[in-house]
């Protein structure tokens, strides 16, 4: 059981690291309304450009969305409600980061599964290598083998 301790500890450590990474990658909630508006704009895809956020784009469509974000926040909507407002119109496509939690957890889970499989495989290999080679036969049969070999050599 002590041999299991290392892989288990490594897996636990990695799980913790994954958790920290996911929380760290997720943007923290901002304080002021202007900050909130900027952050929502950064999370929305600009509808008429390629791979730019609403915050980065200079197009009129992006400007209209930025204006509407500010208006909706001023009307008392929460950032989640503002995002839902645009998802209802453009679909999930408008979100630059995936909304489904599985998209955040799946890479971590897959990495952990891969590492545990690798650890288990390495651990198994080491255990097999450490198995002692048994003494082949008793004194009588060893003597017989020696005789047979000598007879062949003669």
């Amino acid at each position: 059981m002590r041999r299991m301790a290392l892989p288990v500890a490594a897996a636990a450590l990695l799980a913790l690291a994954g958790l920290v990474a996911v929380e760290w990658l997720r943007p923290a909630a901002p304080a002021t309304r202007a900050e909130q508006a900027r952050q929502i704009a950064a999370e929305l895809r600009c509808p008429d450009c390629q791979s730019l956020s609403v915050a980065e784009s200079q197009t009129a469509a992006a400007a209209a969305i930025r204006t509407q974000i500010v208006e909706l926040l001023a009307a008392g909507r929460t950032p989640d409600e503002v995002r839902a407002h645009f998802v209802a119109r453009y679909g999930e496509w408008i979100l630059l980061a995936p909304a489904a939690p599985i998209a955040w957890w799946l890479p971590v889970v897959a990495l952990l599964a891969g590492i545990s499989l690798l650890a288990a495989w390495l651990w198994r290999g080491r255990r097999r290598a450490s198995v002692a080679v048994p003494e082949p036969g008793d004194a009588a049969s060893r003597a017989r083998v020696r005789d047979e070999v000598e007879r062949l050599d003669a």
Binding site: A61, A64, T67, Q68, G91, W121
Partner: protein
């Protein structure tokens, strides 16, 4: 449970989802975006038209409608599509409502476009604030929404409509060619 038995499981566990992802993902056109509006009521809108009157989407009720988002600068797509819209409006006069929404355009430029390529006489709503385009989830002109008589969006077409596509969509709305 031995690892040897797991090894045989690994093949379907890895290959099946990967294959499925590739099979479905590669077939997708990244430029076509499914509209969440299909099957839902057309968002209400109103605005000033090129004639200076006010148009409200409430006027569309009772008959099928084609809501066409366009711009005078949308060349050649909107130019290519224009005769298709003119023909549909003429063929189904009285049965089909057509309304244009101008996407990031000025009234003068839009009037110039209609003077050059033909004015079907349907209302063209100026969307100065871009609010109507946001409510429709427009990603760029031309985009066309097909709305049935009860005000439900039945289809959304991104890009210029051909005569065949128009006939197909109108048939789905119950308008025979």
């Amino acid at each position: 449970m031995s690892l040897r038995s797991l090894r045989w499981l690994a093949v379907p566990i890895l290959i099946v989802p990967l294959g499925w992802l590739l099979f479905t993902g590669l077939g997708n056109d990244p430029r076509t975006i499914p509209s969440p509006l299909v099957g839902k009521p057309l968002p209400a809108f109103s605005g000033t038209t090129l004639d200076g009157t006010t148009f409200s989407s409430a006027e569309l009720a009772g008959r099928p409608a084609v809501v066409n988002v366009w711009a005078s600068w949308c060349i050649p797509a909107c130019v290519d599509e224009h005769p298709v819209l003119l023909a549909a409006a003429a063929d189904h006069a009285g049965q089909l409502a057509v309304v244009g929404i101008l996407y990031q355009d000025t009234a003068d430029d839009a009037r110039g476009f209609l003077a050059r390529y033909g004015d079907g006489g349907w209302p063209n709503v100026l969307d100065a604030s871009g609010r109507i385009a946001i409510d429709l989830g427009v990603t760029g002109p031309p985009e066309t929404f097909f709305v049935d008589g009860t005000g439900i969006v039945r289809a959304r077409h991104v890009g210029p409509l051909t005569a065949e596509e128009m006939a197909e969509q109108l048939a789905a709305l119950g308008l025979a060619p």
